[in-house]
Symmetry: D2
Subunit: 151 residues, 4 copies
């Protein structure tokens, strides 16, 4: 499915272990539902605790989940030992984030040695219906050799 070759054959376990250490993902009740070379999917149930003043999921909540998916799509292609950090991203909010479940999907656009460009999207799912509500274009960086920082 994916066009990318992982530099680390253990990429999937590494992404899952890093996700498990993400405090915010735990707080949000988010789950890593798929990882492939250069791709990642995360889901989160709707909760009013993470909504804005009109009752829709807050742009910051959407950003947190899609940014994490983008970061792990990037990490899946990084060499062993590198940590992933977000350099920057841009977001467009396409429609109010109402629905049962947020689904975030990210795929690498370009994988470089230092920088990885990733496109991410957010969808609200209601039963079998999915609505595209969010899109992100992000730059991720591979950071190596910083004490205490890995994956």
């Amino acid at each position: 499915m994916s066009d990318y070759q992982p530099r680390d054959p253990g990429f999937a376990a590494r992404v899952r272990a890093s996700f498990a250490r993400q405090h915010l993902m735990h707080t949000l009740g988010a789950q890593l539902t798929r990882v492939a070379p250069g791709e990642c999917e995360i889901e989160m149930p709707f909760s009013l605790d993470f909504a804005q003043q009109h009752g829709f999921l807050h742009a910051g909540t959407l950003t947190a989940v899609v940014d994490s998916a983008c970061g792990y799509a990037a990490l899946s292609l990084m060499a062993p030992g590198a940590a992933v950090m977000s350099v920057e991203f841009k977001v467009n909010l396409l429609a109010p984030a109402a629905g049962e479940r947020l689904v975030a999907r990210a795929r690498v656009v370009r994988s470089g040695r230092t920088l990885t460009i990733v496109a991410g999207d957010g969808f609200m799912r209601d039963g079998a219906d999915e609505r595209h509500i969010f899109t992100m274009l992000a730059t991720m960086m591979a950071v190596a050799g910083r004490a205490g920082i890995a994956d």
Copy 2:
């Protein structure tokens, strides 16, 4: 201090009331510490619950607080009855978000009838020291006449 004239003399109370209805700001323990025409400041204590895998505040957490500050800086200049919604934003992460307290400051760059451009920044405060860790450039929209959507 500010160059802008509010269209709504009750802008400050309106911003405070809307902030009080922001579920996510309550969840994060964030407080609105300042509002002026075209300007807004929000603070949040560091909490590991909202951190990423390396123990720094997650980019989504920073985005949530700075985006809210940008939205309220925009709302402070909007006509009575309009609701504010984020159209899009771009973020650069300047340094790891470690410290006691996140301080988000936003100021309107250009106030239009429909669209407002806002610059926001995030700082980590430790005692008297503040470090610039995050910068955002955002577009906010005034939405009028949508049932159930105000401020």
Copy 3:
């Protein structure tokens, strides 16, 4: 091919007429090679006149052509009488822009009454080979009733 229904049945002629009035596109030697509902393609031959200091096409040149493609993809869906203006865009440069020809392709992500979100990409073509070198995420606005501003 396209999922969108144009609001203006004469959208293609209207886009072509507006493109013909774009001074910069003429200066760059760019040509409108395709227009469909919500989609647009523009090509430009490489020229050192529009290069940066290392001999690659300048980021501003790439932006000009891809932004125009994004604007016309948006205009193709706008109601008669509306003019299109760029509100904002974000760009990632993926690889140096060397090659015979720049090909810019844009497609609408979301079409609203006032705002249209468009994704655009730039490719350098050498013979039959195409290389992805540029990606843009843009917001376009429909402006109506401004004297002297149309399409």
Copy 4:
């Protein structure tokens, strides 16, 4: 004036020499009017050749000049031998670019070893009057050791 210490004492001559090799800046009739550690200013006279269909300077023209200013603000702080390349940028168009002269000003927000974050702005000048029409937030990269690529 500037808070930054240049790593290269010959930074100003180096920026001026690189600017002189920018084909597009020459084509646009742009001039480098100021360089300081972490800062750069470029001016360009209005010309219809670089306008869009409504007679205002094209977003791509504005981007070209402000991106160049951002790149040289970054280069002014880079170590000798490094070349500067744009990684990504985000732009907001604040008002139509009508007037006698475009003035672009850039200043570094954060200077890192590999990445430099720069804020740039565009103004249209008419006589003594300046109008803020454009704002950019950009990431620049220091590239070393690539054959044929310097400054």
